[in-house]
């Protein structure tokens, strides 16, 4: 004897990716369809990891690999502004993305400081108070503390010439903060100093101002 089985889903579902509506409209649609508590979840399509990096330096290599590894591990990393346009979704601006992510990754490469976008994003990341994981590629934390020397000097000279004195002060502060956060470094020289990963590194929160 077979009794009728109640279906799992008994109301129409809305796919935010396919209709590309903003969050408010979506909520309005859901609540007008009866029970608003389920069958619609914007959160599952948001970004969770923000990748701050200097595109021309590392896009094709390291960041692409990191992006792929994070996707394989089930994350939704945000790579750059281009994906705002490509993947039709609920975000209008980079600010919304910065607000929605749960963790930041900053990839410091030699040309990093040439981009004011990178530096501005970094300020927002520090301000957000969320966890930041810095990655140092051919750059030392010391270069972040003294950006007018070392590989960042060229970029900073350029910004000075263009009269971005106020911005420079903010950038210096953010770089200094991030230099002190527990991060990762690729030691490409032969005599690498391999330091085993201690679990307490993971729980250390970056010391940032709100």
């Amino acid at each position: 004897m077979h009794k009728a089985l109640h279906p799992i889903i008994d109301r129409p579902t809305i796919d935010v990716l396919s209709v590309s509506v903003d969050v408010e409209t979506a909520n309005a649609i859901t609540s007008s369809s009866g029970e608003g508590s389920h069958s619609f979840n914007v959160l599952s399509h948001t970004y969770d990891v923000f990748l701050n990096h200097r595109g021309p330096d590392v896009k094709r290599t390291f960041v692409a690999h990191l992006y792929e590894a994070l996707c394989k591990a089930g994350f939704h990393p945000f790579l750059d502004v281009k994906s705002l346009v490509k993947g039709r979704h609920a975000f209008k601006s980079i600010d919304e993305v910065l607000n929605s992510v749960r963790v930041h990754v900053a990839v410091f490469s030699k040309g990093y400081a040439e981009s004011k976008y990178c530096l501005n994003e970094l300020c927002d990341m520090v301000k957000s108070g969320k966890l930041i994981f810095p990655i140092f590629l051919d750059v030392e934390p010391e270069h972040l503390r003294r950006p007018h020397h070392g590989p960042f000097a060229t970029g900073f000279r350029k910004h000075m010439k263009r009269g971005r004195q106020d911005d420079i002060k903010r950038w210096e502060k953010a770089l200094f903060e991030v230099a002190n956060v527990t991060g990762f470094r690729l030691n490409e020289v032969n005599g690498y100093a391999f330091q085993p990963l201690h679990p307490s590194h993971f729980t250390m929160m970056p010391n940032v101002e709100g």
Partner: protein, 396 residues
Amino acid sequence: MVDCKIGCRDEAQLLRKVVRAIQSALPVGLLQQVVQHRIGLQGSVTEVVNYLHEVGILGIVGMGGIGKTTLAKEVYNEYAKQQTFERQSFLHDVRIRSLLSLQQQLVHDLLGEDLKSMEEFHNFFNRILRDQKVLIVIDGIDDIRGFDQLIPSLDKLLMQGSRVIATSRDRNVLNYITSQSSTEESKLYEVQVLDCIHAQQLFNWHAFYSDKASDGFQDLAKEIVDSCNGLPLALEVIGAYLFDKKAPKHEVIWIESAKSLRVDPGAIDHKLQNMFDISYEGLSSPIDKLMFLDIACSMIGQHENPIMSIWESCIICTCPSSKSPHSSLMRLIDKSLVKLDENKNFQMHDILRDMGKGVVKRQSLQVGKRTHLWEPLETNEVLENDEVKSSNLCIS
């Protein structure tokens, strides 16, 4: 100023450390912790979800190490993201847990309440039946006893749109459980081994942290993958073992591994044992091995911190020159022999646990001479006969 930066040898190691750090920084919340590389899963998740449109209770069957739990977790997470059910519960390690602890978790997950005794369970279950649509995953069940007390009125539960998934190596157990429902014919989903392409990808992600094998290792990688028969556990453990062995001098290790995995194609158990032996014997320090056996014999499900304190004091007493147990644990995790779950409790695959216990059993025919005791009867016997030697390191 002191720089606290974690140095990495190569890009693969850097990527692995960054992804792990992000994974442990982001709590999984209501989701189940999944594997580090989700490869070849999407198709089977879709199939299971499609089946669950038609049947109320689904059995997931397959041999050990094929990925039943992983698939069940992925399906669980998929539903959690879609918010299809009002509440969900994932019952782990059903085989080794008491009925009361399973009932307690069900009541906690589905009603948010505490169950004090088994007598109250029926009332609570009736409340679940009254107005909720729930998903219950029963993972690793190997005995039909207790199922009726865990899900007392399966038909009523399914009638209102709830769903039950059970995983097991034993087809008969699943056939019995699914036949308890009169709503539909029973359904079993048999997990398939990975196809060549996905098997190669999974191995490459574990061994190279990339989709592709590094130059010079392609042929050996293919040979090893071919001998793993598409079994995800074998691919993961062998891949993780070879991760830090990619210098030219390590080529011989790859050749040896490929050779010892090349046993006759039917004997999967034999192959898994060889895979385990390669990885376990490859542990460089005796401390790593002992810690692995400690976890396998008696510490699965226990929190990292108190155990770490015990290890620290043991190591200071016996071997003061040795490095901290933290680095040993990290190596065990890197080798995919041990996992820490989202609550920092030790976890280990059943197969690896049983093989670890096998190492201890082979130490001596006399129970009293083994390093670890975990069976209550054996432990009593040894204690009563006053056979405890200094060689007994761990009694649980």
